[in-house]
């Protein structure tokens, strides 16, 4: 089976399993247009941060500073939207993010500081700087363009959103009928055709552009070679330092745009510490996605969906336990099949299978024995999921070989 048809099969089975759980439990909010829209809006900032992480790490620079670069972006978006318009605001967000990327690049690439130390320091600086600058610049603002406060700036103009009239109404109608599978597909169509922000569309374009540039161009090949083996890259004439700089600046710009998305699209305006750890989640989504664009999309989508669940009723969250139980069992069976076929069922593989099966039974029991899930547990989900994926799939993950290593110009033998 080709890779494409395997993905298609997986996609269809996910859709059918969701539809089945929805019909079985009556928790129609699982994939109502409202839920999916919230999930999409929550996904985009994480996806942008993860893409930023991808650019940087593919060039060999670990960027824990994504959180700080996003924070710079939230402030830049608010400032430039207030004085100009939301599109200048988005540009401002990108520029502020690039500024954050520049700090990280100077520290890590030029001075060879430990990447994690630089990132942690950058996050400290960004949190302090945006809080301070918000108080200094936004506290007294009050006009048609927005209303400020010591910690916020709300009422900002939003970027445009698009509705495709005929399709949107029809899709929303069908989604409301709660038909098996058909309504689920209609839900997806409804979200894509109803009040979808132009920035959301831009985010997905950026995902595709990233994939194409990094894997289909000469520049992308050179950039990735800096993350795999900079000495070899330099010995064949690649300007390693320049490529690393470009990558980290783009990384900062994408993270900054992620911050801008938070301030202008996800919420009614800017407030201090708006990112609230999403930069870290973006980094996790990137690792989850195995440093690849497709994987990053899946990881960000999962994190975005669980992030948006905070807004849903406890019944919906409860129904999801059943879905998790089902898929854990599927993975357990799949691993058993793989293990028997390759005939060398390693000990670690057996441990994984047992863990998956026990987890599946556990989730099923949790679903069967309770009526609701505390909200706090939902907000924990992305973090716990990341830990589990790292624990059980870390052998399958492959980061760029020279990622996080300090490189000095001229160190090619």
């Amino acid at each position: 089976m080709s890779k494409g048809s395997r993905l298609l099969l997986l996609g269809v089975s996910v859709l059918v399993s969701i539809a089945a759980v929805r019909v079985l439990t009556g928790a129609h909010e699982i994939d109502s247009p409202g839920s999916l829209r919230a999930a999409l809006v929550a996904t985009c900032p994480i996806l942008l941060a993860a893409l930023g992480g991808l650019w940087s790490e593919r060039a060999g620079v670990v960027n824990i500073g994504l959180e700080g670069q996003m924070l710079f972006g939230t402030w830049g978006a608010a400032f430039f939207t207030y004085y100009y318009d939301p599109y200048i605001g988005l540009l401002g967000a990108i520029l502020c993010g690039v500024f954050g990327g520049l700090i990280h690049a100077v520290a890590t690439v030029t001075f060879g500081v430990d990447h994690i130390v630089s990132g942690v320091a950058l996050n400290l600086i960004a949190l302090g700087a945006t809080t301070f600058l918000a108080e200094a610049f936004f506290a007294d603002l009050d006009s048609e363009a927005g209303k400020g406060g010591a910690q916020q700036l709300t009422g900002l103009a939003k970027p445009a959103s698009i509705t495709i009239p005929g399709i949107s109404d029809a899709a929303n109608d069908i989604a409301d009928k709660h038909w098996f599978v058909i309504s689920d597909v209609a839900s997806v169509v409804a979200v894509l055709t109803t009040r979808i922000s132009v920035v959301t569309i831009l985010v997905f374009i950026l995902l595709v552009v990233t994939a194409l540039v990094l894997w289909r161009t000469r520049f992308g090949l050179r950039l990735r070679s800096c993350g795999e083996n900079p000495q070899a890259a330099e010995s064949v004439g690649v300007a390693v330092m320049r490529h690393k700089y470009i990558a980290v600046l783009i990384s900062g710009g994408l993270a900054g745009l992620g911050g801008g998305y938070l301030a202008l699209v996800s919420s009614p305006g800017f407030h201090t510490n708006q990112t609230n750890g999403r930069g870290y989640i973006g980094l996790a989504a990137m690792i989850f996605g195995n440093w690849r664009p497709g994987g990053i999309l899946v990881g960000s989508g999962m994190f975005g969906y669980t992030d948006s669940l905070r807004l849903r009723d406890p019944g919906t969250i409860h129904a999801l336990l059943l879905l998790v139980a089902f898929w854990l069992m599927v993975f357990a069976v799949w691993r058993i099949v793989v293990a028997t076929r390759t005939a060398n069922a390693a000990r670690t593989d057996r441990a994984t299978i047992v863990a998956l099966a026990v987890g599946s039974v556990g989730f099923f029991a949790w679903w069967a024995l309770t009526d609701s899930v505390p909200r706090d547990f939902t907000s924990m989900t992305p973090y716990v999921a990341t830990l589990f994926v790292l624990a059980f799939a870390s052998q399958r993950l492959r980061m760029p070989a020279a990622d996080g290593q300090v490189y000095r110009k001229g160190s090619a033998g």
């Binding site: 824990i64 994690i116 320091a121 996050n123 400290l124 700087a129 200094a136 996790a284 907000s379 830990l387």
Partner: protein
């Protein structure tokens, strides 16, 4: 050659932090000016000699930041990046306060029980990251970041589900009066407003124990050896996996102590008085102090001074106190840059010295 080495040492220990501080203050001043505030007023407030009461706050804050810095330093010495101190001490502070509030034992014994529980919880939470690293190869950087968020959410849920209602929020049961530790005067301070937390002395104990263990014990030698050159350490029989888990346990255990001075010295319960963010600042303090107890103490004092002195900024100068966070962040960034530059400069100087010696020797041989 000896003078070069000495110069380098001085540059690293004294000059580098001073340069970093100067650059950080310059950047902060620039930001203050850009925001339309007065730099002279800023420095006036920051450099006002602290009153006795403010000094007490600075000393208390220094002690807690020192503990946070030590927790980070233990892991750093082993080349482990324990970003999870924040989560470890949040969960540990909650557990310690919970146990102290239950008052299972009388007086001092109750305090000891709480300290033991806090250390154990901090250590256990850190151990998760250590075990994931040695058994599954998961980077401790990512796992501790995830564990931070889980710990903070978990404490929120525990407090909401099992905590006492208090005003708008929730808290653990306050500790009994017999377990409260009145502030110390140390013969200098007026104790009517609280005094120095009695458990700030934990900072001294941890500092001394750290210095002894790292510099004088077999374990400390193995730790430093592994941090310095893992391959060589393995070759000489160090069990690196065990070392990683032990280092994480110790780091988390110390992290569990961070907030204890405040709990018994004034806060009395876990809730609104809990001071979050010390874990992240601890990382910065450890980097600033180069993971040595004395250096970390100076780093902690500097950061405590900045954050305590910044409090009146809003009232006196209409400047947001968060501006000192910029100073703190820039100090860390610049100090690591300067350390790196000094290191390279030193390495280059050594190479030059070596080359000239060699040249001299060959020249002498030819003559």
């Amino acid at each position: 050659m000896r003078t070069t080495a000495l110069l380098r040492k001085i540059a690293q220990v004294v000059v580098a932090p001073l340069i970093a501080l100067a650059i950080a203050l310059a950047v902060t001043s620039l930001v203050v000016v850009l925001a339309g505030n007065s730099v002279s007023v800023f420095f006036e407030v920051m450099l006002t000699p602290p009153s006795q009461r403010i000094w007490v706050n600075i000393v208390n804050q220094t002690a807690m930041l020192f503990l946070a810095g030590m927790a980070a330093a233990i892991a750093f010495r082993m080349n482990l990046f324990n970003i999870g101190i924040e989560g470890q001490y949040t969960l540990a502070s909650y557990s310690g306060a919970l146990v102290a509030g239950m008052a299972l034992f009388p007086g001092t014994l109750n305090i000891l029980a709480a300290l033991v529980v806090a250390m154990a919880v901090g250590a256990a939470w850190a151990a998760i990251a250590g075990i994931l690293k040695v058994t599954r190869g998961v980077s401790e950087v990512i796992s501790t970041i995830m564990l931070n968020s889980i710990a903070i959410t978990l404490v929120g849920w525990l407090l909401n589900t099992y905590g006492d209602q208090y005003g708008q929020g929730r808290r653990t049961t306050p500790i009994p009066e017999s377990s409260q530790l009145l502030g110390l005067s140390l013969g200098v301070f007026d104790t009517t407003t609280g005094g120095v937390f009695a458990l700030s002395s934990l900072a001294l104990i941890v500092g001394i124990v750290f210095a002894l263990v790292i510099n004088r014990s077999r374990f400390g030698f193995d730790l430093r050896a592994t941090g310095g050159n893992e391959a060589a350490a393995v070759a000489s029989g160090v069990q690196v996996k065990r070392m990683i888990v032990i280092a994480m346990l110790m780091s988390g255990g110390v992290a569990g102590l961070i907030w204890m001075p405040d709990l018994f010295g004034g806060a009395d319960y876990y809730g609104t008085p809990f001071q979050s963010g010390l874990g992240f600042t601890g990382l910065a303090v450890a980097l600033l102090g180069r993971n040595r107890p004395l250096g970390v103490a100076f780093g902690a004092l500097l950061f405590a001074w900045l954050s305590v002195q910044a409090n009146p900024l809003g009232l006196k100068a209409d400047i947001s106190p968060s501006v000192v966070q910029i100073t703190q962040g820039v100090v860390v960034l610049v100090v690591v840059v300067v350390y790196e530059v000094v290191r390279r400069w030193g390495a280059a100087a050594e190479q030059r010295a070596l080359r000239s010696t060699l040249d001299g020797a060959t020249a002498g041989g030819q003559a």
